[in-house]
Symmetry: C2
Subunit: 687 residues, 2 copies
């Protein structure tokens, strides 16, 4: 086959090399481009050290080892769940902050896990072999079974030392098995007060200039002792210089840069508006509910910030997709690729059908999008309690099957993590559960319509709020021991249970599984086939010197500490501590905690606080180390600027910026606000 050079379609690649664009896998890092642009060498050893020092928080974040004793630096907002689960009405660790002054005082985060990527193996050929000649739906099943088999084989080969996970890169262009070292005992070491961790709250979120000490220290434990982690990042006390090159390793969650125009429009027209309508309303319900009691406020304070973050992301994604100029550019790139494929008979035969497959997938999906969302994806039954019920009902049934035939969430290699989360002693607010369940039942009725058979089956003649109140008050699923007993009792225990949420989940399950099968066979299967074809066509036409969309797997990105131009003004890349105090109003979310007011005179007002860099990151990178060319940690990524949100679809080097906490303010605060020299010593940075 011929390689065709296309000026237009390769434009995004040449931009990538110039523009600090790309969330690169570590085995395909563009070290040459970096050397050329920034004059620094990023060798294999540098990358290996960064890889082994970077951790994945299984709740959706990144972290980095900060000492050889398992100390992990991550964002405060990555640990809100842990902090809330360890708090009570009497002791609100979110408001008060937390410092363990010895290992004894460190508190285990219920159900949290940390992983480190130690190795990976490409298995693209193996997947191709088992699916060869099959029709799309059959191939989809065979692919999943083979991935499950490969994961199990990998774990068996490691004697249980490794957790192995299948990874799909380039939307199906490559398959890998990633091997992780996993820590399932994670403890809280240090967290500042929410008021300084998230200073400015939602109004400041995704904005810059900024003043957030969005940091937490966790510690990984093994066998009840601090884990030994010889690979860790040393910190540079002063933080980075302006214009200094900076690298970020981490686990970006997902991007959509390789989607077809039809897929982007599906997000614009269907996915994003529905999500935004639902969660804007839920936000309003939570905001009104938090005023009903102190305990309500405590239960939802961080959750509201989390939802507000999601709303800000998605409304700016929608805004990005309303940029018809960018959509036209995407369409032109797509057209160029399609023409190149069509021009070559071999390529046309192999890949020409790709866009029709994806179009068919979207058309089918649109026909039952709401039903699938509200029933199989539980958007009509929100809350922790129904989620437990679904896991127990479905998981016990799936366990009876052969490993390769199960829904992959219940494969053998996934069960240890699933059980850890299912049995974890996490407090449940029944009042908040009721709020969520009422809301979601009402939305289900709104979107499926009152005459939907699902609505009739679930609501019967009940009003949503009354049904939610009954279900939540009667269920015992808030008790970890009750969940464990049901799980261990298997299908028989589930069938015998009269817990109303278990009964509801069981009643829904057959129909929900039908929706799932339809989704897998008629939406997912043609999409995967089509996307894989497009990925292969791109490889053949443009080569492999490119990066895949984010998949919550390890990536590295590069850039420099640099501001940007906004409405004719230059935004300085650094903020300083003095301005934090000037900007504080004394009212949340612009209130500095007492510890900071007290320490104000001691703090150097010129200490750099937050800063921006041109690095290309996204959600999941939260908690990522920002590493200088010399291998030292100079900052902690916690956000992007408002323009970074369009980065889901395209990277704009002139505007897209990462926002990080400067190493300098982290150390200054540990020393002068929190009297935590023992931590600075552990960082091997004490005076």
């Amino acid at each position: 086959m011929t390689r065709i050079f296309l000026t237009l379609a390769s434009f995004s690649l040449s931009v990538a090399a110039i523009a600090d664009e790309g969330m690169w896998t570590l085995d395909n890092f563009p070290a040459e481009a970096v050397a050329e642009k920034y004059g620094v060498e990023v060798g294999d050893e540098w990358l290996r050290q960064a890889q082994l020092s970077t951790t994945r928080l299984e709740n959706g974040c990144t972290g980095s080892f900060a000492s050889s004793d398992g100390l992990v630096l991550t964002n405060n907002h990555c640990t809100w769940g842990c902090i809330r689960n360890l708090s009570t009405a009497e002791r609100n660790l979110s408001d008060e902050g937390f410092i363990a002054r010895s290992n004894d005082e460190e508190l285990q985060c219920p159900g949290e896990q940390i992983s480190v990527l130690v190795d990976f193996e490409e298995v693209t050929d193996k997947i191709a072999a088992v699916t060869a000649g099959m029709h799309e739906a059959q191939a989809n099943e065979a692919r999943k079974a083979e991935l499950t088999r490969l994961e199990s084989a990998c774990e068996a080969a490691s004697d249980g030392e490794r957790s192995c996970e299948a990874v799909t890169l380039y939307n199906g262009g490559q398959y890998y098995i990633y091997e992780y070292k996993r820590y399932d005992d994670v403890r809280l070491v240090f967290a500042p007060e929410l008021d300084i961790a998230a200073f400015g709250g939602d109004p400041d979120n995704f904005n810059f200039p900024r003043w957030c000490l969005d940091m937490t220290f966790l510690r990984a434990y093994e066998d009840g002792k601090p884990a030994q982690t010889p690979n860790f990042l040393r910190w540079r006390a002063g933080g980075p210089q302006a214009d200094e090159p900076v690298f970020i390793t981490g686990h970006p969650g997902s991007t959509n840069r390789l989607l077809t125009v039809a897929q982007l429009k599906f997000q614009r027209d269907v996915t994003l508006p529905l999500w935004l309508l639902r969660y804007s309303e839920l936000r309003g319900r939570m905001l009104a509910w938090q005023d009903t009691s102190d305990e309500a406020a405590r239960v939802v304070q961080q959750r509201i910030l989390g939802y507000e973050n999601g709303i800000k992301v998605r409304r700016n994604q929608l805004k990005a997709l309303h940029n018809d100029g960018m959509i036209e550019r995407k369409a032109a790139e797509e057209q160029a690729l399609r023409e190149a494929v069509a021009a070559d008979p071999e390529l046309a035969a192999a890949y020409g059908e790709a866009w029709d497959l994806i179009g068919r997938s979207l058309d089918t999906h649109q026909n039952f999008y709401e039903e699938h969302l509200f029933i199989e994806n539980s958007a009509g039954l929100l809350g922790q309690l129904f989620s437990y019920a679904r896991t127990i009902v479905r998981g016990t049934a799936e366990r009876e099957k052969a490993d390769g035939e199960r829904i992959r969430a219940y494969r053998d290699t996934a069960l240890p993590g699933l059980e850890q989360r299912l049995f974890a002693a996490r407090p449940v607010s029944k009042e908040f559960e009721q709020l969520q369940l009422t809301f979601s039942l009402e939305k289900m009725r709104e979107w499926l319509g009152p005459d939907s058979h699902w609505v009739r089956m679930i609501l019967g003649n009940e009003a949503p709020n009354a049904l939610a109140a009954n279900l939540v008050s009667a269920t015992k699923l808030d008790d970890p021991a009750f969940r464990k007993k049901l799980w261990e009792g298997g299908v028989a225990a589930v069938e015998a249970s009269d817990d109303p949420l278990i009964r509801l989940a069981a009643a829904i399950d057959p129909g929900a599984r039908e929706l799932r099968s339809r989704y897998e066979d008629e939406v997912e299967a043609p999409r995967i086939l089509g996307e894989g074809m497009i990925a292969d066509a791109r490889f053949e036409l443009y080569g492999t010197d490119t990066y895949p969309d984010a998949t919550f797997t390890l990536r590295a990105t590069y850039g420099a500490v640099e501001g940007w131009q906004e409405r004719g003004k230059t935004i300085d890349p650094f903020t300083r501590t003095s301005r934090l105090f000037e900007r504080a109003t004394g009212q949340r979310p612009f209130s500095v905690p007492t510890s900071w007011s007290k320490a104000r005179e001691d703090l150097d007002p010129d200490t750099p606080f937050n800063f921006v860099a041109t690095t290309d990151i996204t959600g999941g990178n939260s908690g990522s180390p920002m590493i200088a060319a010399d291998g030292t940690l100079v900052g902690l990524a916690f956000d992007g600027n408002i323009h970074s949100i369009a980065g889901d679809y395209w990277f704009d080097p002139s505007l897209n910026r990462t926002v990080g906490v400067n190493a300098a303010i982290m150390l200054e605060a540990l020393k002068k606000v929190y009297d935590a020299n023992f931590l600075i010593e552990e960082l091997t940075l004490a005076d």
Copy 2:
């Protein structure tokens, strides 16, 4: 100049003639097309009788006279404000319904007005004469001053018998002065319980099949006595037949069918998403708040339905604007018009600049859209109390100016209505005011940013909820006498007032006026100029056999009683009473009131309940009479089906349907549920 026949661009006109499309002014009604399609004659006398029998409710609805004694039929939902204002914690007329069994028992609706269009005069040439040769901003001011002058002259000529209002048709293609007979004493006669008026609530809203008795009788009074109204519509007891032609007169509020593609995209990208995000959240806050007390529930029950209606409209408008195929068709029509203009040197000179003017207007608007919305349009200061403050602060200042120099809302001819509303004794829930003000202050901070000078000026160092609580508790603007005293005391009284909301409105006013001026000069003026050019170009190229966008002025539309095809199924145009009871769950919003349960055995189960027709209506038509060719009222328009919402931008004859209450069920219910034969007698329809 030449008339060019353009196949593409005239397509929408030929469709209109075939497709029951159009909200026609009564002096340009397509009687020939109606005769051709339906074989019925709609003569001048028919139209004049319909005109004089049709009323406008100044709160945004339509009604029709039902007797010679001023009885007015409208929708229940058009009278929610009146019903709430007449209710107390002890007596909830919305829940209980209301029947006045004699004139003595009829209750005056605080601040409501009803108008009847009696005459109109075109003044396009007069407007053209006063603006000739002026630049756009100057022309805009001169146009407004002339409209104010013409209104005053018209009222003076009528010896105070008429209210005169300027009307802009065809987006500036024509100007008119409309003369109304106005009734400012409107009383509540009959309203069914909300549970049957809005059976199905938000879930059923904009859906069909449907079972809503969405009716209310009001009565217009003059000099303390029932008004004499010789022009009224007689009812046909059995309602309409299937396929029967039907006509609707009424006051459709606004449509956007003549907008340019750039204007449509501005709605898609800016206006609609921001509105939907804000009001979805407010909906959530209200839903959560209504659970805090019975009184809270009473205060917001109808308001929630109102906002939910607005959300459903706008989310379906957004969906319509995401229909790229329709946008492309609009773009092609626009391109054809532009090419036709460009092809003729005279047309090009006169109108060629139109689209650039509108583009410039939109670009400028986008630059301060949020600021204008939150400050000048008060989206950051929601609630009745701030609205009173703004009216008093601004109105007293405007009154000092010559009539033609005022903001038009405060022109002499508008003051009687404004004062009636300002002095009306409408109860204010301070708790609900606080909810709205907190919400809107928070949204203002979210969208303008915490560092906006407006946010700093209004919030200072206060949190939004604390500021809202202080302002709402301290203000006396909930007292009508207090408002009246300030209003009558004029600028001096306002300046001397220490009422905190008056002070806030006064502090904001200079900056808000600057935003207003900028909007008028840089957004409105070029838009009006550009739109007027496009309207004139259309007239010259395509003729005047077309209809203008809706402007809350009297229109007539025609069609037939007809179902539609939905996902391969035929929707029958009628629903029947039996199914109402089958569908009732006993839980709101699917609960029939006790009065109906009791009467169930007496009611004929086959009585037609609601029905659909192919007529072209929109919001503002609520309460419109549905009139047969013989001049009898056969139904009461109260909604459209879900497809009718896209009617804001284009009319789809295959899907767009009006939903009405059948005359048959209104009479059946009055007789058998409400024991209101005296009303049937007044309708001259008693057995």
